[in-house]
Amino acid sequence: MGLKGYIARRLVYTVILIWAVITVNFIIFALMPGNPIEAYVSKLSKMDEAKFQQMLKYYGLDKPLHERYLLSLEHLLTFNFGISYNYGSPVFEVIMQRLPNTLLLGGIAEVTSIILGMLIGVIVAYKRGGALDTGIVTASLLTYSVPIFFLGWVLITIFCLQLHWLPTGLEQPVAWSRVPPSSIFEYISGRLYHIALPAITLILFTVGGWILLTRACILEVISEDYVLTARAKGLKERTVLYKHVLKNASLPLITNVALGFAYIISGATITETLFSYRGMGLLTYSAIMTGPDLPLLQAIFYILALCVIIANLIADLLYGIIDPRIKYA
């Protein structure tokens, strides 16, 4: 059995999760007291008859509940999210324009944050009890508890308004709408220039958590007997730390990579709004502010949940490959 069985179990579990997300989505919008979808659609009837008929048909509001559930299952599985109220175009198209931006921002922030967090966490755990440890743990606690938009405001003030190093908003230079970038190098540098500040904000927001987690995981392992054995064998301190301690401590960290991704998606909602970075977060904000645009909001939530579920699956599979207890079970 071993690895193959593990992977099969995870895949089945993922499918169940996707089904559950669709169901939760249906429950929130169709079954919650007051019935948001019906309230939303009936509000449309006063404003826009054509859109009202469209929505009525899309949600199958004339059909019994179980048929509506099957309808929504079919819609979400086939990525048929209907027409966005604000944009007037299919929701899927709107989302597909924005999703890469969010994944880019989230990806850069997550990877940098994990690497930084683990490095600092190892150092701090190794020198635990000292002034460095206390200082960094306190700082992590503070960045972890400061609201993310405050970090953003501070960074905007320093880097945009005082130093004029970085732009305050958008995901690419304004001029690109008239003159597209001429070379791939210009494209990459332009994107990075605009992504820098939102990414730094997100990194600051999450790195504290990673430092604390790494520190805790290492402290958990460092008092184990086999570490004592390794030391007693006369191994170098660095070998003990990286080969024996970090390797074992990294297992729970990997599980948290996927959870961290969900956390970053949450943070990105606010960061993107703050920096007018046109990703899923800003789309969410505009969907709340104008309308609300329920079809769009429903789809955004579903797609973000899918991203997180897929990230979880990948983390689980990685875990299976790395953890020998699963491979050779």
């Binding site: 609201p147 609300p292 579920i309």
Partner: protein
């Protein structure tokens, strides 16, 4: 043992301080947290519910006046703009909006057909333009001559450029202006004229000395029920049997006051209520006499008619007031242009009707709104700016209630479900745990947003209790998981088996044996789940999903974010708007985490050994 944990003590002290602030908020906060007004019902002729804003929008903290490095007095500053050609007109765009990539390049023929009559707006109380300079794109500087290349606009704070320049020419105007920190001033001490002494502060003159007498009347004034303020000023006119005057003019002057600031007030608001008998109509003029200029500004003249008390309000925001003294806007800048002594007055004019007449005047008030107010200034709410210190104090209430209640509810749901699923096991266990996994895997904030928006679509608004409910709904999972795993290991212990053998029922075992063993965990989770709730509540409000009528910290942050101050001026200029709130959120969150850590160390012996 708790005293030995320094971090825990720090956390506890912070929590106690904030709880104190939250509980005694009405005693600590000087104003209401939302739409604060003062003098509600005091100006009776205006209506019973009418009150005045406590200060002007975007005031700075009042203690700024003790900071020596804040510039006050007359200073020289400059404004910069760039030329920009669009179609056939040349514009000046302010430096902060200037983008060199935007200016199109025009052929010389096109440029010849371009006209210019654009202006640079100077900020502050401008007392004189010193120099206007143009820096051409090839870096040569030329000084522009008044009335040839530029001239003053309709007010002194505009400079009209008459000349045409190549695109991207930088035009700099150097000018002197006054800056100051102006406090709110109430000129008339007792506007209700409740005592005869209050009348002694008034002087009067008239053009008909023999027929007019001005006295204090203790009966006829506007009266708020239950208070003793029935006094007013009475102007009595005694009609002579022979040759009555054609017009009677009486002016009441209040004591001269010093306006010590180099910057004009942000706004003035003057109110007079009057009633008359014995004449059909009369005029009320509101005036301010400036000693420096030796000039009298008549801010407003209103014709009133006989009858009961009717009000006259003179507001500097009223464009009519500006045009009365010959400016297009900001009449206060013209009147209070420089520090000096001023006198506030009311003039009553009427044509006698061959009979005695009496005019009563009450609720005379003159307020000058400055630009500093309160411990933390004010926000930009229109028309009633919020005192940010009061909003901050009341906000602690909402945050603590949301945080603590959410933690309580979600911890107990988690405890219950964890115990149940761990002890009972089987299908129920599987279902609960899979559901918890599902909720844990979903991105939290988008899920909150979806839930709150769905709620809002059906019920219109979202109350604090809705937020607590939703946060609780999504806050129990990780605790339920840890309780379950603890119960699973406890279940196999000998003492549980012994209890079972002794005939203990399920409830008895859960109550007497399981709960005491997991209760240490309950305390820790209670402490550590508060910060998440506080921050999520603030984040939801920040996104505009909070209750706009609720004075929460999130509302302060939302207002700040929507004010546009962030990207135009940054935190530096208006730091007092959000800095205290954000620091308080962080401190409170960190305090609960520290408390949780301390409890963990005390209640979890394994951790104690490791240290």
């Amino acid at each position: 043992m708790f005293k030995r944990s320094k971090r825990g003590m720090i956390g506890l002290v912070i929590i106690i301080i904030f709880s104190f602030i939250a509980i005694f908020a009405p005693f600590i906060a000087p104003y209401a947290p939302i739409e604060p007004k003062f003098g509600v019902g005091e100006y009776q002729a205006l209506g019973s519910g009418v009150g005045l804003p406590i200060a002007y929008q975007l005031s700075k903290p009042i203690w700024y006046k003790y900071l020596p490095w804040i510039p006050r007095g007359e200073i020289t500053t400059y404004a910069t703009a760039y030329t920009y050609t669009y179609q056939t007109f040349q514009f000046l765009i302010p430096e902060e909006k200037y983008d060199p990539n935007l200016t199109p390049s025009l052929t010389p023929e096109q440029k010849l057909s371009i006209s210019v009559n654009d202006r640079i707006y100077l900020t502050g109380q401008v007392s004189g333009v010193k120099k206007v300079e143009a820096k051409l794109p090839n870096q040569t500087s030329i000084e522009l001559i008044e009335n040839k290349d530029w001239q003053a606009g309709s007010t002194i704070s505009e400079v009209v450029i008459l000349h045409r320049f190549p695109d991207d020419t930088q035009i700099t105007v150097t000018y002197t202006t006054g800056v100051d920190l102006v406090e709110n001033m109430k000129i008339v001490k007792d506007h209700k004229l409740s005592t005869p002494e209050s009348f002694e502060e008034w002087n009067w003159t008239t053009n008909s000395k023999n027929y007019i007498n001005v006295t204090y009347n203790s009966q006829e004034g506007l009266k708020i029920t239950g208070t003793d303020d029935s006094g007013c000023i009475q102007i009595s006119y005694k009609n002579p049997p022979l040759s009555p005057p054609s017009t009677v003019e009486t002016t009441l002057y209040y004591q001269t006051f010093a306006y010590p600031y180099y910057e004009p007030p942000k706004r003035f608001w003057i109110h007079v209520s009057s009633k008359a008998t014995g004449i059909i109509g009369y005029y009320v003029d509101v005036l301010i006499y400036s000693e420096n200029e030796g000039k009298e500004y008549v801010l407003y003249s209103k014709s009133m008619s006989m009858g009961d008390y009717s009000p006259l309000v003179v507001d500097s925001n009223d464009p009519k007031v500006a045009s009365n003294i010959g400016v297009s806007s900001h009449p206060q800048s013209k009147v209070f242009g420089h520090p000096g002594n001023f006198t506030f007055g009311i003039r009553i004019r009427f044509t006698p009707q061959n009979q005695d007449a009496t005019i009563y005047i009450d609720d005379v008030d003159c307020l000058l709104y400055g630009n500093i107010f309160g411990l933390l200034g004010t926000d930009n709410a229109v028309p009633y700016p919020t005192d940010l210190f009061s909003a901050f104090v009341y906000g602690a209430r909402v945050s603590l209630i949301v945080g603590v209640l959410t933690a309580l509810f979600s911890t107990f749901i988690g405890l219950f479900l964890g115990l149940f699923s761990g002890y009972v096991g089987g299908m129920a266990d599987e279902a609960i745990m899979r559901f918890a996994d599902l909720l844990l895997v979903l991105p939290t904030l988008p899920l909150f947003i979806v839930l709150v928006t769905a709620l809002r679509t059906t019920s219109g608004t979202v109350s604090m209790w809705n937020i607590i409910f939703i946060l609780t709904l999504l806050g129990w999972m990780s605790f339920a998981r840890s309780v379950r795993s603890m119960v699973l290991s406890l279940k196999e212990r000998a003492f549980i088996e012994a209890a079972k053998a002794a005939g203990g029922g399920t409830l008895h075992i859960i109550n007497r044996h399981l709960i005491p063993n997991v209760f240490a965990l309950v305390y820790i989770t209670l402490a550590t789940s508060v910060p998440g709730a506080i921050i999520t509540e603030a984040s939801l409000s920040w996104l505009g999903l909070g209750d706009p009528r609720l004075a929460s910290w999130g509302k302060i942050l939302y207002d700040f974010n929507n004010s546009g101050v962030v990207t135009s001026k940054g935190l530096l200029e208006y730091w007092f708007w959000v800095f205290p709130t954000c620091i308080a959120i962080a401190l409170l969150a960190a305090a609960f985490i520290l408390l949780g850590y301390a409890l963990d160390e005390i209640l979890n012996p394994r951790l104690r050994e490791r240290r």
